[in-house]
């Protein structure tokens, strides 16, 4: 009979990544079946209850309290797990930054006083508090990278209007990636510096293009994230237009790559009118958009790979096409990067394959209509990450989906992404490889892409080698991996004959 034990730390706050790491350490202890360390918000208490780890004491926690929730083999092991969590929590908090070690400032105002010359606030607090913190930063004259999601559209518009009035760059909300002056911020890669500037509404879109350009011998001046809604009719491209002004005036930037899903038509007209006045060459990658009326200084890249090739002055790749009909087996794409999932859907659709997705792009069906179609899941979508870490931070959240695909009788090819860089898991390829190596012989073929560079903390070369050692094919880009998956579908042994 297992034991559920909770402890509540009143008025104690740790961020979600720190809590996830402690949870992982406790979960690995002998005799511990499940562990959750979460702030006691109503949503988190429901998650703990659903996981069967919430006891009466945990139910008394408020949103400002930390809940340590354990389910263990017996009472002694549960108590030992709580004690270990307490020991980790009692470690003194680190100070970070340059200069002498000091007590960490408790407010943005005192932090600004502690760092003369501060010019950017990187805000990643929970969404409900994010707009308030970002507005404080704007009021202090700081540019803002707002990483948090779950910020309302009204708040986004108010923040961006305020930033524009103050002449400040407001990246986000839901801005996962930026590279400013060669410095990777949030989820970004260690790319070579160069003359290509990027403006992107998507984090993994910026990551894939910046890495392909860097790995292809080019370099990045700056990559400015706008947040996914910037080119909506309501927001009206405020940050994109500011970023165009900045990169136009930036002497280090020779050309600009603009990445987004297809914008609202009137916003596309506004942005392209602004592009027409740019003195620089602009590669426009509105993934899946058709019939763009581009000015003479602009070229269109349909995919992230096309955009990178155009920036490198290379020809774009020939689209995938079916050499002969596919066997009955299906492709199961399991992605951590939303824009990589979108790019894969586009390539599959253009090859004539019927695709369904939880984040469908033009040409794909909703996931409810997956029967008989190839499927692409964006596992970083909000629906999969409520109360759980993003799969780029914790690849284990993708495990159940990968196992299910590998065991599925209708699956012929599994297509994965593996996103490296700052912020990401230290060894995502090792995690995938161990999972794949544990499977029985036979089964679906596996193709993966690795977004990253050799200068990243994980090293792209080492990660690729690890995947290949596990029998996974690793083409040079997400687009190439998807084309390879299409090829394999035409070669696949029908599952019923396996």
């Amino acid at each position: 009979m297992s034991t559920v034990l909770n402890e509540v730390r009143r008025g104690t706050y740790l961020d979600s990544v720190a809590l996830m790491r402690i949870s992982g350490a406790i979960r690995s202890m002998d005799g511990v079946d499940e562990c959750g360390l979460m702030m006691g918000t109503p949503a988190n208490l429901r998650i703990l209850a659903d996981a069967g780890v919430l006891a009466a004491e945990g139910e008394t926690a408020g949103p400002g309290d930390l809940v340590i929730a354990i389910r263990a083999r017996d009472a002694a092991r549960a108590a030992a797990a709580i004690a270990e969590a307490a020991r980790i929590l009692s470690r003194p908090k680190r100070t970070s930054g340059s200069g002498p070690a000091a007590v960490m400032p408790r407010t943005l105002r005192s932090a600004v006083a502690a760092l003369p010359g501060a010019n950017l606030a990187l805000v990643s607090v929970p969404g409900a508090f994010a707009a308030t913190e970002a507005m404080k930063a704007l009021a202090a004259g700081l540019n803002v990278l707002l990483f948090s999601d779950n910020v309302s559209l009204d708040d986004e518009i108010a923040l961006k209007a305020e930033a524009r009035a103050r002449g400040i760059l407001m990246m986000g909300p839901d801005c996962g990636t930026a590279i400013i002056g060669g410095v990777p911020l949030a989820f970004a890669n260690a790319v070579t510096r160069g003359d290509t500037g990027i403006i992107g509404a998507s984090g993994t879109g910026i990551q894939e293009v910046s890495c392909l350009v860097s790995n292809g011998g080019g370099g990045i001046s700056h990559a400015i994230g706008t947040g996914g809604r910037d080119l909506s009719r309501e927001v009206g491209a405020i940050t994109t237009l500011t970023a165009l002004d900045l990169l136009d005036a930036d002497p280090a930037t020779r050309q600009i790559v603009l990445i987004s899903k297809p914008p609202a038509p009137e916003v596309a007209r506004t942005v392209l009118a602004r592009v027409s006045r740019s003195p620089k060459r602009v590669v426009v990658c509105f993934i899946g958009a058709k019939d763009l009326d581009l000015p003479p200084n602009a070229v269109a890249g349909a995919t992230l790979e096309d955009a990178a090739n155009l920036a490198l002055g290379r020809p774009v790749a020939t689209p995938a096409s079916l050499s002969r009909p596919t066997a009955s087996g299906k492709l199961h794409g399991l992605f951590s990067g939303g824009t990589l999932a979108a790019e894969a859907q586009l390539i599959l659709s253009r090859a004539g394959l019927a695709v369904a997705s939880n984040a469908p792009v033009a040409g794909s069906a909703p996931i409810a209509e997956a029967h008989g179609r190839h499927t692409i899941l964006d596992l970083g979508d909000d629906a999969y990450t409520i109360g759980r870490p993003h799969p780029m931070i914790e690849p284990a959240v993708r495990d159940a989906h990968i196992r299910a695909a590998l065991e599925s009788p209708d699956c012929a090819v599994v297509l994965l992404d593996c996103v490296l860089g700052y912020g990401s898991h230290p060894d995502p390829a090792g995690h995938i490889a161990r999972l794949v190596e544990a499977r029985p012989p036979g089964g679906p073929r596996i193709v993966a892409s690795v977004t990253g560079t050799d200068a990243d903390p994980q090293s792209r070369t080492l990660q690729v080698e690890r995947l290949r050692a596990a029998g996974i094919e690793v083409p040079p880009s997400n687009a190439a991996a998807t084309r390879r998956a299409v090829e394999l579908l035409t070669q696949a042994t029908p599952p019923e004959r396996r």
Partner: protein, 67 residues
């Protein structure tokens, strides 16, 4: 409605960010500050706790009162 395209010179605060590189106040995930510090970038991490006992509406009201 979308704003009119500017096309004019960008404002100073944003221009200086690109010219000087980021000098960061980090509010939220401490791992972001740790990684910046590891690259020898100037960064100060705010020891943030949810204001108003974790009540977002009250926190917003407090912030308005204080500014």
């Amino acid at each position: 409605m979308p704003p009119e395209p500017t096309g004019g010179p960008p404002a100073e605060a944003a221009t200086r960010l690109l010219a000087d590189g980021p000098s960061v106040i980090n509010v939220g995930l401490e791992s972001f500050a740790t990684e910046l510090a590891g690259q020898d970038r100037p960064v100060v991490h705010v020891d943030w706790v949810p204001p108003a006992g974790g009540d977002p509406r009250l926190a917003r009201l407090l912030a308005k009162l204080l500014t």
